[in-house]
Symmetry: C2
Subunit: 428 residues, 2 copies
């Protein structure tokens, strides 16, 4: 069976989405908006909703994905739903392991075992400078720290054995032999423990990770129980998929580690209608600002490019001296899709290097099935370009098609996120 | 009008409460238990529910007040209630100001402006050693840090002006001139800002503090908008009340700062019945462990003291060489209440140095009124010895009596915690 998460992000993953006349932008501070999104995802029997997170306000002029803080929002969302998993990003660079372990464990209790933790190390100096650092620690240091951070968090979750709570009114509230300090004293952290939250219902809330760099992939292979990936097309997805599965095996792990690339979909009953939805969002982008940003990405003067003409020729990757990640994505989009300038701006504004599928439910299910059956993906992290419309479309149109093909559940079998993902509950 | 908070604490503030056959101990990990408590408090039109917090597991053998983490629990509780305020303790010693400001601001949005923040500096080495410190920083350093912490948090809440969000689909999501960095660079914290959560509905969530030491009182006088106090009897309450009100005035503040001492109540339709409730809980205390603890407090060998005889004579405060705070409380309890040994153990096991009132609704309302009318209290932080029974008793029996006397609201007038407490909304 395929796994599907809904990746929540403001009014949707398309940067122009909030500008749509019917957008949900006025509701971004209203918890009921997020509750309804989770309910829609649950109606579609999705595995989980997934919250990204960042530690700086960003460019507030052009829309912001941040409003409510994910852990507090998810606590409320858990009470408006019964089965769906709830995954929050928590940075290992800014919290202490004790706070992170405790907040996530508490959410696991509140939700009855439906919580996942997406471990990130954060990236930007503007984030670091909100938390006491002059600048972001180096990549290698962040990952060493993340590794120790995860280690300490797991030990804290293990500091209460599953049967520690006895509630024996003539004796112990908890068996003191089954609640033990962890005495963690490492390079980055001192944490005595035990945690002040009993063992989470799932044993360990599910560990997500999105490793792209060498260090990130190594951390993912050793630690992650499910992986959020970035893959522009099937060959790129297969490269990543095989590499991670190999690393997981080499790390001596025998568990399956579902890999879920991000996926942007525009779905409608005809392909034309689906493309019209995409075009409608693309046309909402502020042209001058988008061209200026494209100019930064490509180191070209794009301000006079014709919006509805094909993208002019660009230097090869080798001949390009700026940051290569985004530039190589741009070259691949141009090569495979031959977009107009406006279409390129739209692609970059919705999901960037992630895969985009546009078409009928059958067409999209065909592509998803191809990825799923050919070592490209164990599932997808859905990145609807606009919310709530994009997830309603997916749940109402694509999910039934996947179910018809026997690729996706028609009912939840279990009650925890581990159940949905087919992951075993760790012993204490 | 009087202000009343429900101070949540495990199965109640009496250390023996969880041992009662009908106790709620099995529900401490169940968010519905806390939701129902908040609903009961809201039925009684209380100002708020109040969460204490600690950063270590404590003695898990003898019951624990910690299970769910307060901020995540309160997010859920806010969705099960409409009007009642929700106050969480957040330590200024272990979080970064950005995390604290963001979590509390997010809760204020989720709850529609019903959140308060109880600033504490934490006290114990076992807490420090869960968050990377070898030992707790010195008292003076903790308070200097707390002062700067509050300063940074307030600046972060102010970093978005109230009308910053424009949602102008042809222009700005937020007016960039109304979202500004704070560039805080102090002795303890570097925080650039702005916050990544827009200005909270209350402007600033309400600042609670419980200042007992000289530095604590100074911080409370300068910063707190409402104060949680400890007062054993009316004269002690008056001393504290007058001292804080004077300090607030000297700090140049013209706002009222409600002072709310903790209050343990045993209420029933007859005084005998109320005393029986108290005795029932006192008898649940494990005798040997309680006598051993009393022995530590008093530096006496108490193990052979007769439980139902008066407490033997103790050395005067001057002649006592151990920690004096708790010892002076014990002397006062003996002096004013002439308790048996068992009663003394019970008093210490429920609220310690806080005021205890035992009797009929009329008797308790009489005493509360006397405190309220004589510069002892602007309200009370209710510490029911057992939960949920203790708050149900209070809401069903004492609240109607206070309402009859015109001392307590019969309906909420506003929708925010500031409204309930009569506090103005800070300008941005």
């Amino acid at each position: 069976m395929m796994h599907l998460n809904l990746f929540l992000f403001g009014c949707g993953h398309h940067k122009g989405a909030w500008r749509h006349p019917n957008s949900s932008v006025e509701q971004l501070g209203d918890i009921r908006y997020y509750e309804r999104l989770a309910q829609t995802a649950e109606r579609g029997k999705l595995d989980a909703v997934f919250f990204a997170d960042g530690q700086s306000a960003g460019n507030v002029s052009d829309g912001s994905p941040w409003f409510l803080e994910p852990l507090t929002a998810m606590a409320a969302m858990s009470r408006a739903t019964d089965r769906i998993g709830l995954i929050s990003t928590v940075s290992s660079t800014f919290y202490t392991p004790f706070h992170a372990a405790r907040l996530v464990a508490s959410l696991d209790h509140i939700s009855g075992g439906r919580v996942g933790w997406n471990v990130v190390t954060s990236m930007f100096d503007v984030e670091a400078r909100n938390h006491g650092y002059e600048a972001m620690p180096k990549h290698t240091d962040r990952y060493r720290r993340a590794d120790e951070f995860v280690d300490a968090v797991l030990k804290l979750w293990d500091s209460w054995q599953a049967d520690a709570l006895t509630f024996d009114r003539q004796g112990h509230y908890a068996d003191p032999d089954k609640v033990q300090p962890i005495n963690h004293d490492g390079e980055f952290f001192l944490v005595d423990g035990p945690l002040n939250v009993p063992r989470p219902p799932q044993g360990h809330p599910v560990l997500f990770q999105a490793g792209a760099s060498e260090q990130g992939r190594e951390l993912a292979a050793r630690r992650a129980e499910a992986i959020y990936a970035v893959a522009y097309d099937l060959p790129a997805a297969q490269d990543y998929y095989r590499d991670i599965k190999r690393r997981v095996q080499e790390a001596g792990r025998t568990t399956s580690v579902p890999i879920m690339p991000g996926l942007v979909t525009y779905v409608a009953s005809t392909e034309d209608e689906a493309r019209a939805k995409q075009r409608e969002l693309d046309e909402l982008l502020p042209v001058a600002a988008s061209l200026r940003q494209l100019g930064q990405y490509t180191e070209q003067d794009c301000m006079n490019w014709e919006l509805d003409e094909p993208v002019p020729g660009l230097p090869s990757l080798d001949a390009f001296n700026g940051p290569k990640g985004r530039y190589s994505t741009i070259l691949r989009i141009i090569e495979t899709e031959q977009p107009t300038v406006r279409q390129l701006l739209g692609r970059l504004a919705a999901g960037g290097g992630h895969c985009t599928m546009v078409g009928t439910p059958e067409q999209i299910a065909d592509k998803m099935e191809r990825w799923f059956r050919n070592e490209g993906a164990d599932g997808f992290n859905l990145m609807p370009p606009s919310l709530p419309a994009g997830i309603e479309d997916f749940v109402d149109q694509v999910v039934p098609e996947l179910q018809r093909r026997g690729l996706f559940r028609t009912e939840y079998r279990g009650t925890t996120l581990r159940d949905h993902l087919g992951l075993a509950r760790p012993e204490s």
